[in-house]
C-alpha cells in the first residue's frame, strides 16, 4: 500500500493500557491557560522514567465550566494511585502557581481520585468548598431522570459536547491574585498509550517536515496527546539493554549511523527516522490520530511509514497500519489509500 508515493509497511504498532485523567485548565486568556498546561505536562514524555505521560490535547474546548478560555490535558500513569500522585503534584506546582488559572476535571468516570481535596490544604484553613449537587442539573434540564455527570459514568465526551451541568464539589483556595478553583476529585479511566508510527525519510530535513505535518494533523484529533517534545521522538527505543538494569535502549535497527554495524531495518535510501508516539482515551482515538498523522506525513521525501512493536510482548493493543486506510478499524476517519 502506498499513500502519495510513500509505502505503508504491513506492520503494527503495539500499544498498552494505562490509566488516564483529563483536566481542563482555564485562565484569563488562552495564552495563560496554555502556559499552565505546558508547565504541568513538562517532563512527562515517557512512563519509563517520568512517572507519567502527559500532554496538551487539541483542539481547545468550545465551552468551559467558568466560561473562560481553556486547554485540555491528558495524563497517563500505571495505576489510579500513580495518576493521583502525579496529578496532585503537577497541578499543585504548575497549575495552582500559574496566574489566574483554575483546574477542572473533564473526564466523568465511576472511578475518581483525590485532587482538590488534597490541594485544598494549601489554603491553610482559609479554603472553602462549594457543592454543586445534582439538583442544579434538574433545574437546568427539567428532567427528573437527569444524570448529572460526575459519578454518573458519562461517555467521556468533552465538556463542550456534554450537558452544561455536572455534579461536582469544588475547592476555592485563596492565592495572591484571587483564588485558585479546583475540582475535589478527578475521574480516571483506562486509556491506551504507545500508539505510534515511524517516518522513514530520505533526508533529516524531509523527515522532520513530514513529522511536523503529522503533529499538526493529530493536533486536530480529540482525545489524544503526543507526549514527546514537539510531538516527535528521535530516540526510539527497544526493550532491554546490554547493560544490566537498563529497561530500554536505543532502537539500533532504525539508527542510520549503525547501518553497517547492526542488522538494520532501514532501506539504503533512508537517512533519518522520526517516531510519533500517541496516547489516547481509547483505541479508536489512537487509531484516528495514527491515520490522520500518517496521511499528513506521506509525500515526497518520505520513503516509508513503519511502526514500533515488540513482537506482541509489550501491550495488548496491536494497531495495524494498513487497515487504518481500508475502512476496517472502528472509528477510522481517514478513508482508503491506494
Amino acid at each position: 500500500m502506498e499513500i502519495d508515493g510513500t509505502l505503508i509497511e504491513d506492520t503494527y504498532a503495539e500499544a498498552f493500557g494505562l490509566r488516564v485523567a483529563r483536566l481542563l485548565i482555564t485562565a484569563e486568556s488562552e495564552s495563560w491557560a496554555m502556559t499552565a498546561a505546558r508547565a504541568m505536562t513538562g517532563f512527562a514524555t515517557s512512563i519509563v522514567a517520568c512517572g507519567c505521560e502527559a500532554g496538551v490535547e487539541g483542539p481547545p474546548p468550545r465551552r468551559t465550566p467558568d466560561g473562560r478560555p481553556g486547554v485540555r490535558v491528558l495524563l497517563f500513569a500505571r495505576s489510579p494511585e500513580a495518576v493521583r500522585d502525579e496529578v496532585v503534584r503537577r497541578v499543585g506546582q504548575c497549575i495552582m502557581t500559574a496566574a489566574t488559572s483554575s483546574c477542572w476535571d473533564d473526564l466523568p468516570s465511576e472511578e475518581t481520585v483525590r485532587l482538590g481535596s488534597l490541594l485544598r490544604f494549601f489554603g491553610d484553613g482559609h479554603q472553602t468548598s462549594k457543592l454543586l449537587d445534582a439538583s442544579l442539573g434538574l433545574l437546568a434540564t427539567g428532567r427528573v431522570d437527569a444524570r448529572a455527570g460526575g459519578a454518573g459514568g458519562g461517555t467521556g465526551a468533552p465538556a463542550d459536547d456534554a450537558a452544561p451541568f455536572r455534579q461536582r464539589r469544588i475547592w476555592r483556595v485563596p492565592v495572591m491574585d484571587g483564588e485558585f478553583v479546583v475540582d475535589d476529585r478527578c475521574g480516571v479511566r483506562k486509556g491506551v498509550a504507545g500508539g505510534n508510527f515511524l517516518i522513514l525519510g530520505r533526508s533529516p530535513q524531509a523527515t522532520l517536515q513530514a513529522a511536523t505535518r503529522a503533529v499538526e494533523a493529530i493536533g486536530r484529533v480529540p482525545g489524544v496527546i503526543l507526549p514527546f517534545p514537539g510531538g516527535i521522538v528521535r530516540s526510539g527505543s527497544k526493550v532491554g539493554s546490554k547493560y544490566r538494569g537498563l529497561v530500554a535502549s536505543t532502537n539500533a535497527p532504525y539508527c542510520p549511523t549503525l547501518r553497517r554495524t547492526v542488522k538494520t531495518a532501514l532501506p539504503d535510501e533512508v537517512a533519518s527516522v522520526l517516531e510519533i508516539v500517541i496516547d489516547g482515551l481509547g483505541v479508536e482515538e489512537v487509531q484516528a490520530a495514527m491515520a490522520a498523522g500518517i496521511r499528513a506525513a506521506c509525500g515526497p521525501g518520505v520513503v516509508r511509514i513503519g511502526a514500533g512493536n515488540y513482537g506482541g510482548r509489550l501491550g495488548k493493543h496491536l494497531l495495524r497500519l494498513r487497515p487504518l486506510f481500508e475502512g476496517r478499524p472502528a472509528g477510522d476517519p481517514a478513508g482508503g489509500g491506494r
Binding site: 482555564t26 467558568d66 462549594k130 457543592l131 445534582a134 439538583s135 434538574l138 437546568a140 451541568f165 469544588i170
Partner: protein, 274 residues
C-alpha cells in the same frame, strides 16, 4: 403519562387547613385510580379520602399534576424523593417540606416555609414565596441541606435561614433577614436583598445583583471577579433565568462575615450595582 388530580369545587364553605402530605409521586406512583382515591388527607381534624376532594385522571405515575385552588393545602410534596409534582396555582404553607428528590413545580405563589428542611431535588416557584423559604423544619438545626430552590418572583423574610448546603435563587427581591445564620450553601438574589441579610452567617455565599449595605459586622475585602460563579450561572441560564448585565464578567465587591459568628461567609455585590 401524567396523573391529574383536579380539586372539586364547593367543598368547603370556609377555608379549612388541609394537610396534603400524602399527595406526592412517592405515594401515587404505581397505584390505580381507586387506590389513589383512597389515600388519606387530613382536613381540619378529620381524615378524608383523596377521592372525596379530587377528580382523578390516570393511574398513578411519577408525574403528578394537581389542579385547583390549593391555598389552604399545606405540605404538598412533603418528603418527596422522586418524580415530578406540578401544582397549577397558588399553594399553602410548607410545600416540599423535607423533600429529598424529584422536581416540585409550583405555577403560582407559595405560602410560608416552602422547601423547609429540603435535602435534595429541585423546587421551582413560578410566583413568589412567603417567609422562611428553605428554613429548618420545626425542631431542626439546619435549613436547606442540599437541593435547589428557584423562585421566579420575590421571597418573604428570612429566606435561607440556617441553610446548610444547596442553592437558593430568588429572581426578584428577598425580604429582610435573608441568609440569616447560614451555615453554608449559596443564596443568589438577583433583585434587592432585604435589610439585615447575612446576619450571623458562618460560611456560605450570598450574592446580590443590586446595591446592598451588609450588616456592620461584615468587612469589605476588595473587588474581584469570581469565575466559579459561572458554574451556577450556566445552570440558571439553562433554566431560563436571565442574568443581570455583567454578571459573568463584572467585578463583585466582597464582604466577609459575620464577624460576630464564624466569620467565613461572604456577600458578593455585583459591582455594576454598587
Amino acid at each position: 403519562m401524567t396523573t391529574t388530580l383536579r380539586l372539586k369545587t364547593g367543598l368547603f364553605d370556609r377555608p379549612i387547613p388541609v394537610d396534603a402530605a400524602s399527595l406526592s409521586p412517592d405515594h401515587t406512583a404505581g397505584l390505580t385510580v381507586r387506590e389513589i382515591a383512597d389515600l388519606p388527607i387530613l382536613v381540619g381534624r378529620t381524615t378524608e379520602r383523596a377521592g372525596d376532594l379530587f377528580d382523578i385522571e390516570g393511574a398513578g405515575s411519577e408525574d403528578l399534576m394537581i389542579e385547583g385552588d390549593l391555598g389552604s393545602f399545606s405540605r404538598l410534596g412533603a418528603a418527596m424523593t422522586r418524580g415530578r409534582l406540578t401544582l397549577s396555582g397558588a399553594v399553602g404553607p410548607r410545600a416540599g417540606s423535607g423533600m429529598s428528590g424529584g422536581i416540585l413545580r409550583i405555577e403560582g405563589d407559595t405560602a410560608s416555609h416552602a422547601g423547609e428542611g429540603m435535602r435534595g431535588g429541585a423546587l421551582l416557584v413560578e410566583g413568589s414565596a412567603g417567609v422562611f423559604l428553605g428554613a429548618p423544619l420545626a425542631g431542626h438545626a439546619h435549613g436547606v441541606n442540599r437541593g435547589t430552590i428557584l423562585v421566579r418572583g420575590d421571597a418573604g423574610a428570612m429566606a435561607g435561614f440556617r441553610m446548610r448546603r444547596g442553592t437558593i435563587v430568588i429572581k426578584g427581591d428577598a425580604g429582610p433577614g435573608a441568609g440569616t445564620a447560614m451555615l453554608a450553601g449559596s443564596l443568589f438574589v438577583l433583585g434587592r436583598l432585604g435589610e439585615g441579610s447575612g446576619a450571623l452567617m458562618q460560611r456560605g455565599t450570598i450574592m446580590t445583583a443590586r446595591p446592598f449595605d451588609p450588616p456592620a459586622t461584615f468587612l469589605e475585602s476588595g473587588r474581584s471577579r469570581w469565575p466559579y460563579l459561572g458554574l451556577y450561572y450556566d445552570a440558571l441560564e439553562a433554566a431560563g433565568v436571565v442574568l443581570p448585565a455583567g454578571a459573568r464578567t463584572a467585578e463583585y465587591r466582597r464582604h466577609v462575615g459575620d464577624l460576630s459568628s464564624a466569620g467565613q461567609g461572604e456577600i458578593l455585590i455585583l459591582e455594576a450595582a454598587s
